[in-house]
Amino acid sequence: MTSTPDVAQASAQSGETVTKTFREAITDALWEEMERDESIFIMGEEVGVWGGTYAVTRGFHDHFGEKRVRDTPIAEQAIVGAAVGAAMNGLRPIAEIMTINFAFLALDALVNLAAKARYMFGGQFKVPMVVRTTTGGGRQLGATHSHSPEHIFAHFPGLLVVVPSTPADAKGLLKAAIRNDNPVLFVEHSTLYQTRGEVPVDDYVLPLGKADIKREGTDVTLVSCAKMVQVSLEAAKELEKEGISAEVVDLRSLRPLDTDLVMESFRKTNRCVVVEESHALYGIGAEVAARIQEQAFDWMDAPVQRVATEDVPLPYSRDLEQSALPDAQKVVNAVKQII
């Protein structure tokens, strides 16, 4: 049994959409929520005058002012810790950790403060906060700046971990995260910021903890999240040319982990490849594979395959780094091993 918060909430939709980048969708969600609720504020390194190192909060400092858009010292423990304290005392902080690589510095604050403040004191405190951060490799940033460790944070009860893959999901899930009364780690893949998609124009709020079928198929289930959804979709296109129909399940959040949709898909396809950007050891694939053998053993036609980053620190040199990361061809190869 794992702990699952009650996170179902969604808003009515007009159906009208507009094309936005992933970055714009996040900017819109932040802006709209800040306009809606005065108790929301942003704090982090270079979020203010600079406008965010990924330009997500450009213009916020001028519009909302210094009080609500706070540049912080380079001090991840204090950024997350102070956000927890402010959340306990009635505000709704959105703390930004520039990249998830720096969240290791705040691991204690996330795990021992944010995730424990409620349970450890018998439910007296609420911690309504979001920690936004970026993840992902593939940008030649070397070993320390290229981690994708979001699943590590999902290990701990008390935290929620959200990993959107599309602009629409990013907007809807970020709004849900901001309105949730629990600490949410909201993980944005840095190579997705320029991607485009249709985004509902309404006050678009998705439920947290619901996976989504990004492509329907019948022969194999590809389970992934964030950037790896793109990789899986590319692989699915390749497989289609060879007459293999792949279904792509986007987890969208790692905690809660929506295994219902995974099982539904798996009971149809009887085969599964998990595509994850971190290392395979103790990873998302390990968890999904375990759940499948627990919950859908009788539907298994083949072992669950994992496509993950090679078990090495990521190197700088471009082709060498790319060779270590999952790509569509690796996914295709994995599928062919079980079909």
Partner: protein
Amino acid sequence: MALTKKQSLEAYRLMNLIRRFEEKCAELYAAGDIGGFLHLYIGQEAIAAAARYALRDDDNIITAYRDHGIALARGLPTDQVMAEMFGKATGTSKGKGGSMHLADIDKRFWGGWAIVGSHLPLAAGLALADQYRDEDRVTLALMGDGATNIGYFHEALNMAAVWKLPVVWLVENNQYGMGTAVTRASAVADIAKKAEAYGMPCCMQVDGMDLLETYEMIKEAAAYARSGQGSFFLEVNTYRYRGHSMGDPERYRQAHEVEAQKATDPIVRWAEHLKEQKIATAKKLAELEQEAEDEVEAAIEFARNSPFPAPEELYDDIYA
């Protein structure tokens, strides 16, 4: 402004309450009624009592794992605090926190936190929320001397100074971080010098065995923080008579050092003060001591008779 007569007597009762409570906890720990880690406050009672009267009731207090004394001073019900020691459902944290994790949101006592220094950014955040809403509360952040060597301390103080957050940072310098003397662990023996580096007013060498002096310093620090000028730092010298926790072999100090320190005992000194000032007779003091003892005995009774958390509570309160 000095303590009123009523407060003076209450403070005597309170310090006795804390000491009796801690002595009983030591016995109950040995008997197996209390588990986990147990960090006693004996010797440091004057600081908690001083904080009790130097702050407004709606100010915030947060501390580390040596939290029984300040919790009782803040007015957390003795029954519930003892029940938490026993891991009972009637405890302040419903039996889920234990000795190191007492809290009471209604009393704005934001917890004992057990990772050294981790509560210091929480203090900054609590103060930030009040500042954000233009509320004139201050936050008292108590910490041990050992906490001033960890990154959390420096990040939190720097942030608080940059943002002029209304925090009173109070180091309870009991001379040892676990078993390592301050001079062996801190590059500067005067801990307040570290805070001076962050540009905040500091007061070092406050005598934490002297209730009045400590009370006056916290009061002054709180007034400064409340005025909107930012944080204030206090280094308060004190001494714990017992080990760091119950499993401490105390190889780092001699018995005669502890005995010598007891000559400055805060409760004895306060009793003498009350008699000298004709605020209380010996008989009155004995009555207050007895009241404290009775309150602790009643709390033990309450804790013993309380139920343990029901099995189904295991999964409660992880998420809001």
